[in-house]
């Protein structure tokens, strides 16, 4: 069930990404919805699923973008791992802190991508600084929003389940 949900979410963000590219070629330089999904998934999922999901999402992202196949897969796997390890040591209760956390991870992703392109794939251009800054801002904002919305939905579902369990059913003795 978790896998299906994740794949559906991945398809949805891929759609958003494609729609953004179709809207304007500059959109993918400003916002990365796939990264937001990867980070959200890394925070919310159990160990193991986080980095596997990030790898798959990175490869999907690679399929959509140009360049050497696998670079985004590698970078996203590392970013998700860092995110997953960091959440144990951080207390992220306020939304601005969450936003900042997502922004820093977006910066990390861009730095890793630049490093991979610079070291392993000689001669490939590095992202412009304004694109990195824009991605940090948009990832921070979207990440905080996603956590807030996702958390709210999860709480509501939990409450409903609890109420469902408490409700007396026919045939049960008092």
């Amino acid at each position: 069930m978790r896998l299906v949900r994740y794949l559906l979410a991945l398809a949805a963000v891929a759609l958003v990404h494609i729609a953004g590219v179709r809207l304007s070629p500059i959109v993918p330089l400003l916002v990365d919805p796939i990264l937001v999904l990867i980070l959200y998934h890394s925070l919310e999922s159990p160990r193991g699923w986080d980095i596997v999901g990030a790898s798959v999402a990175g490869l999907v992202h690679d399929a959509l973008t140009g360049g050497v196949y696998g670079q985004l897969g590698l970078v996203d796997t590392v970013t998700a791992y860092v995110c997953s390890r960091s959440r144990q040591h951080l207390v992220l209760l306020r939304s601005w802190r969450l936003g900042l956390f997502f922004s820093l991870l977006a910066l990390l992703q861009q730095a890793l991508l630049a490093a991979v392109r610079f070291l392993l794939l000689d001669g490939v251009e590095i992202m412009p600084w304004w694109s990195v800054a824009a991605k940090m801002v948009t990832t921070g904002v979207l990440g905080a929003m996603t956590i807030a919305v996702g958390g709210g939905l999860a709480r509501r579902a939990k409450r409903r389940r609890r109420e469902h369990r408490r409700k007396p059913t026919l045939g049960t003795s008092r």
């Binding site: 160990r47 990175g58 696998g70 590698l74 590392v78």
Partner: protein, 287 residues
Amino acid sequence: MRDRWHHGLFVLLVLVQLLIMTGHEPARGSRLEAWMLRAVAPLGSAVASLASVGDGVREAFRTNGTLRTENTSLRDELGETRRELMRLMSIEEELRRARATADAAEPGPVARARAARGQTSFFVADVVYLDLTAGLRTLVLDGGDAHPQRNQVVRSSRGLVGRIIATGGRYGKVQLVTDRASSVSAMIERTRRKGLVRGGDGGLELTLLPHRADVRVGDRVVAAGIDGVYPRGIPIGIVTSVTPAPGLFLRIELRPEVDFGLLEDVYVLTGQPVPEAIIEGQPDATR
């Protein structure tokens, strides 16, 4: 234990990703990439389809808006045209009444003096026949009670039509300016350079202008008023081409101001634009 398993999985995934990267051949592409593309490409098609549907809807809305605007504009235009038509109809009626009055009355001393000074009066005549087979060279007009006479000048509101070359009662036959045998002394309105307009193959030709004459495409040519027939200033045509011809003169083609195919009513000028000096010396010259 769980942490170690997580680390191990991470290292494994990084190695796999590195293998994918190093095994990548840009010329052929990898099989994994092909699979991923096959899985993701339908999403792109879906977005494209949605976008095309959206474009279609937007286009439909835009077209609808444009059509509404055009409809409003055309309705306004139609109303304006109807008002203009009513105004013209009333003017036509007034002209008919004025013609009837003028026909009924004898020319008084003022009219005679005006004619003696070379100022022209006119009457309106209906075009009853247009010689299409000969390439719009002649037309027949009906002058009503005002009998047309030979050499009277015929013009429309737009410009020169021709001169009457034959009469028969209330009818007159008009040689159009486009007739091959027609010639009108004319001048370029902008530069006052004079020449001779002759009829050509369906159009007009301005001749007797030397190579150094300042003539441009778009110049208006009007009657020069020095041939004793056509009054000065009646528009004849617009210069459409100026080409150097062998000999002394330019070859200048004109587009007639008047669309002869649309003529219904014409004005027949009854006075003669003879110079005042001649009129003073020869009082009978006004005929």
